[in-house]
Symmetry: C2
């Protein structure tokens, strides 16, 4: 841009954080504390890819999260399992507690009040979702399942993935797990559960609802909130969305795809809500990038192309032709 | 005996096995193969103790066991937990599977047919159980629970402990269980479950019932039988019981207590059923022996006393006064 225009046509601020993978635990406070320095008219979120049909994906939102560490202590010590006739161990109780969180048939979270603040997709978001590419059979094959939760298909599956909160047991551990057998009634069980949240759910409030749920069910579960983020979505009607879409189309010479939100999580709320800016995610990834997996990669051509996309966004934002 | 009588007054055979703690996996076949050598009129099982009131305990039976190793694979690989909206992970499914085995309120096993062959205690066994010492509050305090499963108390708790089969999750493991958070939808979950069985339940059959239960509930659980033993009880009416009780009373000069069965497990069935002999458990332990725990111990005086008990049993068995 400096070569072409002799100068940056508008002010550009970079905000880089390194804690996203551990839940951006300090990011919200950082943005809050530096609100004046970070003030802006719009925000480009480096997050995006080319989909399987090589269309650039623009993403307008992201889910939140409530990540809980659970501990259940049932007895004062490990016991000989013959006592199982009159005493329940921690592993059994934790299985009941975890099972009580979600309905096995429909996948609906059974915690009272969990869905109270869930914002339903707007008609515009529904429409934008309807035209998204979604190769259902390919996803099923890739993850190795015969059907999705509750047998949902097509648009319903897409809507669940983007607009519904989740409840996932990420791990559990109790008692004897080595080779062979040991007849023990374990004293303690631990589990980790994440809830992916949608607007306008509050992770702290979700934690309290889960706590109350366990109490009502009679489970004495201690919990720690290991990560809490709120979801965020920029409106499809925001002029910045049209600007970025147009600039991307121009810079790549290809059609683009707009995702009203992503199924993933990130600290978008901390920026969008605190600074009051529209946010559009666009980035240099591609469909085969193996995010978070061994041999994660991006293609150099995509990286170069994204430089032009960013430059064109900045030009358009500055009112240049 | 040889000093007093100049000879052993009857033939005595010793049968010693070293695999009890791993489920006596070869014992049944061994007894079967050596049936002729082992043939006997009665059997003393070295298993017993002095209770908290220092009464010698005689035990006539023992529970069986069905120990299962469970594996549930939900997806072809670990997934990003954002997919939790449309795909259930192995940890969630295993929690449902384990929770489905037993009713949380009453502790009743929900596997269809599980109780079909359960032999109810006879009126004589009920009566013998009614007079057993059982310090309910002490047990609760020792294990650290406020109440027993389903709120049972007194004789009901005793009856459950001795005559009802159990279902205990001895251990489970899935996904991420380390420090902090990792948002993962685990591919695989493992668990170990033991069922303590009563006469006339068959461990192989129980395994099949559990397998069918999981299939009916829609859980694809692979299972391995790590230990299977049948329960056994000698009748309270067997003359050998009166003989051992009387001999023990004489040798110790104290009252004795008869337990119609124990809550623990051992390969008594292999001997009692295959050889067709009455079995009475009597031994040198004491109430504070910390079986299976650090600093397991017995008292030398109890050891010496038990020698006299055994000698008196042999004398009485041989018809000596």
């Amino acid at each position: 841009l400096q070569v072409v225009h002799g100068r940056l046509p508008c002010r550009v601020k970079f905000l880089v954080e390194g804690e996203e993978e551990i839940g951006s635990v300090h990011f919200g406070r950082y943005v809050e504390a530096h609100r004046d320095i970070l003030r802006a008219d719009a925000c480009i979120w480096e997050f995006g890819q080319r989909d399987i049909k090589e269309r650039l994906v623009i993403t307008l939102g992201i889910k939140g999260i409530c990540y809980l560490d659970l501990e259940l202590v049932a007895t004062s010590r490990d016991l000989h399992s013959s006592l199982g006739a009159i005493v329940d161990g921690a592993a059994t109780k934790m299985a009941w507690a975890l099972a009580s969180l979600k309905d096995a048939a429909a996948g609906r979270v059974l915690v009272e009040g969990f869905y109270d603040k869930v914002r339903q997709p707007s008609p515009r978001e529904m429409e934008a979702t309807r035209i998204l590419p979604f190769d259902e059979e390919e996803v099923k094959q890739s993850v190795g399942v015969k059907q999705f939760i509750g047998g949902v298909t097509g648009l319903d599956a897409q809507l669940r993935l983007l607009y519904q909160p989740t409840c996932t047991v990420c791990g559990f551990e109790s008692g004897y797990t080595g080779q062979g057998s040991k007849t023990v009634l374990p004293r303690r069980a631990r589990a980790k559960v994440d809830f992916r949240l949608v607007p306008d759910q509050d992770p702290e409030e979700i934690k309290q609802l889960v706590q109350r749920h366990f109490e009502q069910q009679g489970f004495d579960v201690k919990m720690t909130l290991l990560g809490g983020e709120r979801a965020y979505r920029t409106s499809l009607d925001d002029p910045f969305v049209a600007l970025v879409s147009g600039a991307s189309r121009e810079a790549t010479g290809r059609e683009i795809t707009i995702h009203p939100t992503s199924a993933g999580t990130g600290p978008m709320y901390d920026v969008g809500h605190t600074l009051g800016v529209p946010i559009v995610g666009v980035g240099a990834g591609f469909w085969g990038g193996r995010a978070h997996a061994p041999n994660e990669s991006m293609r150099l051509a995509d990286f170069e192309e994204t430089i032009f996309v960013m430059a064109r966004i900045i030009e358009r934002f500055a009112g240049l032709p």
